[in-house]
């Protein structure tokens, strides 16, 4: 209970400091650069359909990128377990992708995908999804590899003595064992997919998307509108994380504390 209560209380404290301009005093800033929560709230209410439209574009890219990247990462981990000598190199190469800044990756992918579709929104989405997928892939492959290999001592010996075929070694032992590790990867993957989507949108061809709106509004010095989108991005992040927690609780409901 306190795990929910304390963050909420802390959030309320920040809001109070913000609305009473105490925060502005601390940060030596003004209400133009850092608009008051009441004003941000009013903008969100007034422009709700527009904000929702942009939110859908962003969430779609983030979720598809996360799912495709995580699936690819998991597959890589499975291949590394099957072909260990080739695999260690593959894992290293995958993690190199996380070291490439998104700002460098996004324009490359924009160029690469320019002939994918005649529709701007589609080819722009494909480009952004690839960037998000690449970022999520390495994280999943490393966690999944641990989940597939860090089994209880003697589990593999037991399966061998019971004449388990290699496929059964995966379906009955390695894959079930990797489930908690998948969630570990997704807990990092959810926030990073949203951030990656937003940053990719700065460079995207298509003009819809939260990241794009933040950039445009800041360029036009419309800080209150920019903050409305920043708040929306935070809400999306919290909502998706909460959704992940619910799914985890459902999937792992039978696994008691170890």
């Amino acid at each position: 209970m306190t795990t929910v209560l304390y963050p909420v209380l802390f959030g309320i404290l920040i809001l109070v400091l913000w609305q009473t301009k105490t925060l502005h005093a601390i940060l030596h800033t003004d209400t133009f650069t850092l608009p008051l929560p009441g004003r941000i709230n009013a903008i969100i209410a007034d422009n709700f359909p527009t904000i929702l439209g942009n939110t859908i574009v962003t969430v779609r890219v983030a979720i598809l990128g996360l799912l495709i990247g995580s699936a690819a990462g998991y597959l890589i981990a499975v291949l590394v377990v099957i072909f260990p000598t080739l695999g260690q190199g593959a894992l290293a190469v995958t993690s190199v992708f996380t070291a490439i800044p998104i700002v460098a990756l996004a324009p490359v992918m924009n160029n690469w995908t320019k002939d994918v579709s005649g529709v701007v929104s589609v080819r722009s989405a494909v480009s952004k999804i690839i960037v998000v997928a690449l970022v999520c892939m390495a994280n999943m492959s490393i966690n999944a590899y641990r989940g597939l290999t860090e089994v209880k001592p003697f589990s593999e010996d037991l399966m061998k003595v019971l004449a388990a075929k290699p496929v059964k070694m995966f379906t009955k032992l390695r894959i079930p064992n990797s489930v908690p590790y998948i969630f570990t990867a997704l807990k990092v993957g959810v926030p990073s997919s949203i951030i990656t989507t937003i940053v990719s949108e700065y460079f995207a061809e298509y003009l819809m998307g939260i990241g794009r709106q933040i950039k445009e509004n800041i360029l036009m010095a419309q800080y209150a509108a920019a903050w409305a989108y920043i708040v929306t991005a935070c809400v999306i992040g919290i909502a998706l994380y909460a959704l992940l927690m619910v799914v985890q609780a459902l999937v792992m409901r039978n696994r008691k504390a170890r």
Binding site: D157, K160, V161, L162, A163, K172
Partner: protein, 265 residues
């Protein structure tokens, strides 16, 4: 000689001049076993006893095809260990309980049956019978983490018996348990062994335990691991806890202890 006695005298596992050498993590050559020859009879309860490093676990693992012999031969029912393993003729219980914590107790016992493609109904019934045999029927739907160490090890025994293995391999299965649980499980194991008439190979470093359970005790000595003596346990069956206080029991314990090369340990 009756047919029953005939089958009791039949050799189930024949080990001839077995050498096992492997390399440890730092690359040093370890001569785990050297020149071990042993015949194990069908339905026999045999213990492998010795200090750590004597190769008793290696011998068990080599029989189970978890370790390859470097030299010499092992035959199990006239076949190679690998062939027997692939026919699921071995049941195994390790020192620590190996239960999958995403499966209920019932489903853990069903695991070996799933691997042999038993029908859902047969699996369920067999696992139910096994859990009843180890006295855990009420915990069928519990998860391993909800069970005590002793109960978890009983689930392991139930799982090992579930496939009705010809040979039951036990690697210090009770060493991590308290004395009370251990004594209870000794009696359970002997009862199940009597009912099913399996060949049991039991690894332990506890001489009392070996004397109480076994028909014969193989004493192994370390560096390199080799068979230094075989002691026949002449105690009557069924064994009872009271036997542990008889002079005969104590003299057998003494005999095993004195069989270690270089005297007592």
């Amino acid at each position: 000689m009756t047919t029953e006695e005939n089958s009791r005298n039949e050799v189930e596992i024949s080990i001839e001049d077995l050498d096992v050498t492997f390399h440890d993590n730092s690359g040093n050559e370890v001569r785990a076993l050297e020149g071990v020859s042993l015949d194990i009879r069908k339905g026999e309860f045999i213990s492998l006893v010795g200090p750590s490093g004597c190769g008793k676990t290696t011998l068990l693992r080599t029989i189970a095809d978890l370790q390859k012999p470097t030299d010499g031969m092992i035959h199990v029912a006239g076949r190679l260990p690998r062939e027997e393993r692939l026919m699921q003729k071995f049941g195994i219980v390790f020192q620590q309980p190996v239960l999958f914590d995403w499966r209920t107790v019932q489903k853990n016992v069903e695991l070996p049956l799933e691997l042999m493609y038993y029908s859902r109904k047969d699996r369920h019934q067999r696992a139910k019978d096994m859990l009843e045999m180890v006295g855990l029927s009420d915990f069928a739907d519990s998860y391993p983490s909800q069970l005590s160490g002793g109960m978890q090890q009983r689930v392991n025994i139930a799982r090992a018996f579930a496939i009705r293995p010809e040979i039951l391999l036990m690697d210090e299965p009770f060493s991590a348990l308290d004395e009370f649980t251990k004594e209870k499980l000794h009696e359970d194991l002997l009862r199940m062994w009597r009912q099913t008439n399996k060949t049991v190979i039991f690894v332990t470093h506890n001489i009392q335990e070996a004397v109480f359970l076994s028909d014969r005790i193989c004493v192994l000595s370390p560096h390199p691991g080799r068979l230094s003596a075989i002691v026949d346990v002449t105690l009557n069956r069924p064994r009872t806890a009271e036997m542990k206080y008889t002079p005969e029991f104590n003299s057998l314990v003494e005999k095993v202890r004195n069989s270690f090369e270089g005297g007592s340990i």
